[in-house]
């Protein structure tokens, strides 16, 4: 069973949160091509949301080509690769980069020291990854 986490503390519409989380499941391999998504009424009941919320999320994911319907037989993940285009990936990462830069500047870090810090963190991640493999 997929575990969704719908938050109502920041105002993001519920159908958008569903779309983002399904995209994320696909991007991270928790959902792969030809996996079946729960039927609308099942997911609506599981999440205690209006069925139209799920219908809208599925419709928009279908228009984006990420999922497809087999007639009378449910909704499935499409065979195509990443749910994010390169432009979307850049946009997602730019948002994070902007947040980092704003924070760094207000703390008195110039660009070079910020980049050096990112490199240190990256090396630390690599070390951790080696440790777990």
């Amino acid at each position: 069973m997929l575990h969704f986490n719908l938050s109502q503390s920041d105002g993001v519409p519920l159908y958008l949160q569903l779309i983002q989380q399904i995209k994320h499941f696909i991007a991270t391999g928790r959902l792969t091509a030809e996996d079946e998504l729960p039927p609308v009424r099942v997911l609506a009941q599981q999440l205690v949301v209006n069925p139209q919320t799920v219908v809208r999320a599925y419709r928009e994911l279908e228009m984006a080509g990420l999922i497809y319907k087999r007639r009378g037989a449910g909704t499935y993940v499409s065979a195509q690769g990443t749910p994010y285009t390169e432009a979307e990936c850049r946009r997602l990462l730019s948002e994070r980069a902007n947040a980092l830069l704003v924070e760094a500047r207000s703390l008195g870090f110039d660009l070079d020291s910020t980049i050096a810090l990112v490199q240190e963190c990256s090396a630390e991640l690599d070390r951790l990854k080696e440790g777990t493999e």
Binding site: S9, G11, R41, Q45, V48, V49, N50, Q52, T53, R56
Partner: protein, 309 residues
């Protein structure tokens, strides 16, 4: 307007209601379409229950009209009530009966009672046949009330604060069963609650009643698309936020302000930039924020309206 009457489950037009000198409803106009899950929100005492009692024919409309399935519920109580399932806020269950007796007793009122469905509901809710209603927990009483409201498969479900005072588990059971009946049978539901989180999840249309007035009436998606919470910064300090079309609420001081406003995102951004504001952040507000802003706006603008009636 009148051409739409036939396709509405509920049509309320110009309804006003006073008790002695207290005005409970002022000129309420609302329509509910088939298959809608219509969230009715507002503080306790805002007039939600009074409105629901009008829909049930328990109060007669002296000013304005009330139509349910195209009928006046006061003139046609039997045919209207047979098609409604109602869960009242205080449940109204006969405490001396056992679950078994209550089911048999309620069944007698409804020709369309579905014993198989009633038994399914009872099992899902875990209600023992021989338990006395009086001995049921709060959550179980709410479940018993919902069972009685659902088992004749009514076209319209009226739920008055169905989960008020319940723990999260019982609340999820109750709302989950409502969702199931909506998803499987396309039932029309009026759902009154002061808990905005659950209204946002369950409803697809929302009406805010404040002080007896309809302060907001729109589809849930439209509500989220048309309200914005924006942080804006001016190059020079200001004593108050400038007048602006669509502004509902502003807080802040000097250079930086946080506002809640309505309109298209482009229009709002354009207006703010014209007044020399720099946009720091635009977010979708929560329902709580929208309603607080609306309610505060009414109190400021409508201060004079309270004296006439």
């Amino acid at each position: 307007m009148s051409s739409e009457v036939s396709d509405s489950v509920i049509e309320v037009t110009g309804l006003s209601r006073s008790f002695k000198k207290n005005v409970a409803l002022r000129d309420i106009t609302l329509s509910v379409k088939p298959g809608q899950v219509f969230g009715l929100v507002g503080e306790n005492g805002a007039g939600k229950t009074t409105l629901i009692r009008h829909l049930l024919g328990a109060y007669m409309a002296k000013t304005g009209t009330v139509r349910v399935f195209g009928l006046d519920p006061v003139a046609n109580p039997v045919s209207v009530l047979a098609r409604i399932g109602y869960l009242s806020e205080d449940r109204d269950l006969p405490l001396w009966m056992k679950v078994r007796e209550l089911m048999a007793y309620t069944q007698a009122f409804y020709p369309d009672w579905d014993p198989t469905y009633a038994e399914d509901l009872r099992n899902r809710f875990g209600l023992p046949l021989d338990a006395k209603i009086k001995q049921l927990s709060r959550g179980e009483k709410a479940k018993a009330g919902l069972l009685m409201a659902l088992a004749h498969r009514p076209e319209l479900l009226l739920l008055d604060e169905p989960s008020s005072g319940l723990d999260p588990v019982a609340r999820k059971d109750i709302l989950g069963e409502v969702i199931r009946s909506v998803a499987e049978e396309g039932r029309t539901v009026i759902f009154s609650s002061h808990l905005l989180d659950e209204v946002e999840r369950v409803s697809d249309h929302i009406a805010l009643i404040h002080d007896g007035v309809v302060a907001l009436d729109m589809p849930m998606d439209g509500l989220k698309d048309s309200h914005h919470r924006i942080v804006v910064r001016f190059s020079e300090g200001r004593a108050s936020f400038p007048d602006m079309v669509g502004l509902l609420h502003a807080e802040g001081s000097d250079k930086e302000w946080r506002i809640l406003c309505t309109g298209s995102r482009e229009d709002v951004h354009g207006l703010l930039q014209e007044m020399g504001g720099q946009l720091i952040e635009t977010m979708v507000p929560t329902l709580d924020e929208i309603f607080l802003a609306r309610v505060k706006g009414i109190q400021l603008n409508g201060a004079g309206a309270h004296h006439e009636s």
